[in-house]
């Protein structure tokens, strides 16, 4: 087999404010193949969101290499990074990050505007996606008029409109009640079933174990859990070593696979 879709090689992210430095990520190694569904789990402050932002090219690593389909991200210029975000990644934020002045359909269409789709095409595509996500009666509502679960579905539609092959969801259920949360997870499962790579960040240590019995995650055959090491800079320690078949190993810390 060739190189995996996503390869993180000793990636670190250090924040500097004044004289103090905070190490958010310390030499993380991760490999993710196309079509995988991966959960990144860890305690608050363990650097999950930082990792996610780096994966989605919203942030840059301080050191180490990040390769997407064999290309080193550090060698790309601003427009190439924008093209990656536009064509290949779909980002779902915990706080939705919808634009308040646009309607639901306007928000979904936005990435397609930048991709240069004609106005009729992007309208059809956005309406189709919202219809599929059960939002067809709320196309003209602004985010302020939608519930949290509905806003998150709009943001999922926005992530999908340009046909992204990697969906990055940063605590997508974090601000939702459990029912809406399950709905969102079900949608993400469907997206994975279409053959897209799905990477989810969650602070919920039990996930997807909690769903082990439920149909959605139990059937996600290639689901893996990447457990973030909690860090007490500069030392690292593992919260919960996963013993089984570590694919991602960093100084004896870990990664588990759930079959």
């Amino acid at each position: 087999m060739g190189e995996p879709l996503i390869v993180l090689d000793k990636v670190s992210r250090v924040y500097t404010s004044g004289e103090s430095t905070v190490v958010a990520l310390d030499r993380i190694d991760i490999r993710i193949d196309a079509g995988e569904m991966v959960a990144i789990v860890g305690a608050s402050g363990s650097g999950k969101s930082t990792l996610m932002n780096i994966l989605g090219c919203l942030d840059r690593s301080t050191s180490g290499h990040y390769r997407i389909a064999g290309r080193d991200v550090a060698s790309l210029d601003g427009d190439e990074l924008a093209a990656l975000r536009r064509e290949h990644f779909g980002f779902i934020f915990q706080r939705y990050h919808l634009l308040g002045e646009l309607t639901a359909i306007g928000n979904v269409e936005m990435p397609a505007v930048y991709a240069g789709l004609s106005s009729a095409d992007r309208h059809d595509r956005a309406a189709g996606l919202l219809h599929r996500l059960g939002m067809d009666k709320r196309l003209a509502h602004t985010p302020g008029q939608l519930s949290g679960g509905q806003q998150q579905r709009v943001s999922i539609a926005r992530a999908l409109i340009n046909g992204a092959d990697v969906i990055l969801a940063d605590e997508p259920t974090g601000a939702l009640d459990s029912r809406s949360g399950e709905e969102v997870l079900r949608i993400l499962d469907e997206i994975h079933a279409e053959g897209r790579t799905v990477i989810i960040v969650t602070h919920d240590m039990a996930w997807p174990g909690a769903h082990g019995g439920s149909s959605s995650c139990a059937t996600a055959r290639s689901s893996r859990i990447v457990l973030m090491p909690t860090m007490t800079p500069p030392l690292l320690r593992c919260v919960r070593p996963v013993s089984k078949a570590p694919e991602l190993v960093r100084r004896g810390c870990h990664v588990g696979t759930q079959d």
Binding site: N53, G56, D79, R85, R86, H97, L99, M110, P111, Y114
Partner: protein
């Protein structure tokens, strides 16, 4: 897209525009007020009598022989009237005599003048009419009296002097006009003055055809200095000697010029100050309105907008805001002018195209620059940094 974004944020767009509107309107109004009052002040000074030359016989004031020099005659005045730089010419003679009307007597200055005299001096009528060419040609016994003479002879103020016959010395004259009080301190006095045709004064009072002086009004395009030289050349040629001197009342013109300069400077300074004040307003509101939208820029970049997409959007929005704001600002200024002109305050607003153009151009440049710069800076950030700015 820019329009729909502005429509969605009507209040923000309006507040941003308000900076431009106020800036443009204030510059345009202040310049219009300045030019209007400048015009009024200059008109007031102009009414004092402007660029005139007075030609007297003799070498200078106080020349004892000047009374004996009889060379300055009406023919000289006619020759001067032919000159291209001359707007009006008035030969004058003068004497003094006693005025009588009924039982009232007053001693007065008698000025024998040509029909253009009042034009030369910038005299204005209170009632009646001026002397005309006919009355000069026909040695008419028509008199124009000044405000002092009117007060002396018609103190009750109820009878109109026009049409009344007064005795000037022993000559009965019909009053045809009354002049308004001259506003100036230049050469006016409290002495009653009666203006008669110079022909009448020469024939009935002096018995002499020479002139005491010739007043020349130089036209507006010629400087009085150049006119003075030309007049000197012409008269020297005609008399074969320089037996006259010229009083140049250019000091009035100089006063006007320096007043004009000061007022122009004042208007310009006020315009520059209001430009700066308006510019700073525009700058602040633009900076704030774009800084507020940095997280929006972050969202747009996170879904794949290029830096150029962001810049284009903000540039178009800034230009639109500035142009619409500028147009509204001009509308506001014109509206203010209309209201201002309804209340008659003694001068009107004069709009200058230059001030409108400069106001629009500078506020647009400032608005676009300060709308564009923070957007450019934000679009250079990593999206995650822009996203976290609230």
């Amino acid at each position: 897209m820019a329009l729909s974004s502005m429509n969605a944020h009507r209040l923000r767009a309006f507040l941003t525009m308000l900076g431009i509107i106020i800036g443009v309107a204030s510059v345009v109004c202040v310049v219009a007020l300045g030019s209007g009052s400048q015009e009024r002040v200059l008109a007031n000074i102009n009414s004092l009598g402007t660029n005139t030359l007075e030609i007297f016989p003799g070498k200078d004031f106080g020349d004892t022989r000047s009374a004996k020099i009889k060379t300055l005659v009406v023919a000289d005045a006619r020759a001067l009237a032919q000159q291209p730089y001359v707007a009006a010419v008035a030969p004058t003679v003068s004497t003094s005599s006693t005025l009588r009307f009924g039982a009232i007597e007053a001693s007065a200055q008698i000025s024998g003048v040509g029909e253009q005299y009042f034009q030369v001096k910038g005299t204005q009528l209170a009632e009646g009419g001026f002397l005309d060419a006919d009355s000069v040609r026909s040695y008419a016994q028509d008199a124009v009296i000044d405000d002092n003479a009117r007060k002396a002879l018609f103190p009750d103020g109820t009878t109109s002097p026009v049409g009344q016959v007064i005795l000037v010395g022993r000559v009965p004259c019909r009053v045809v006009g009354v002049t308004r009080q001259q506003q100036s301190g230049f050469g006016s006095s409290a002495n009653p003055t009666v203006y008669l045709p110079y022909t009448t004064v020469q024939a009935r009072f002096l018995g002499d055809r020479s002139l005491r002086s010739v007043s020349v009004r130089v036209n507006d395009t010629t400087s009085t200095d150049a006119a003075e030289q030309a007049v000197t050349r012409l008269l020297t040629e005609r008399h074969n000697a320089k037996d006259f001197f010229i009083l140049n009342t250019d000091d009035i013109r100089r006063t006007i010029q320096s007043t004009t300069q000061i007022l122009t400077l004042l208007v310009a300074a006020i315009a520059v100050i209001s430009l700066i004040v308006g510019g700073i307003g525009v700058m602040n509101i633009m900076l704030v309105s774009v800084s507020e939208r940095i997280s929006e820029i972050g969202v747009r970049m996170a879904v794949g907008a290029r830096q150029t997409d962001i810049l284009q959007q903000f540039l178009i929005e800034a230009v639109l805001v500035c142009l619409i704001g500028g147009t509204l600002g001009i509308g506001l200024a014109v509206g203010f002018g209309a209201v201002f002109n309804v209340f008659d305050v003694g001068f009107r607003l004069i709009y200058s195209t230059t001030s409108v153009v400069v106001a629009i151009v500078s506020s647009t440049i400032i608005g676009v620059a300060f709308g564009y710069m923070p957007a450019r800076n934000a679009s250079k950030l990593d999206p995650v940094v822009a996203l976290s700015r609230e």
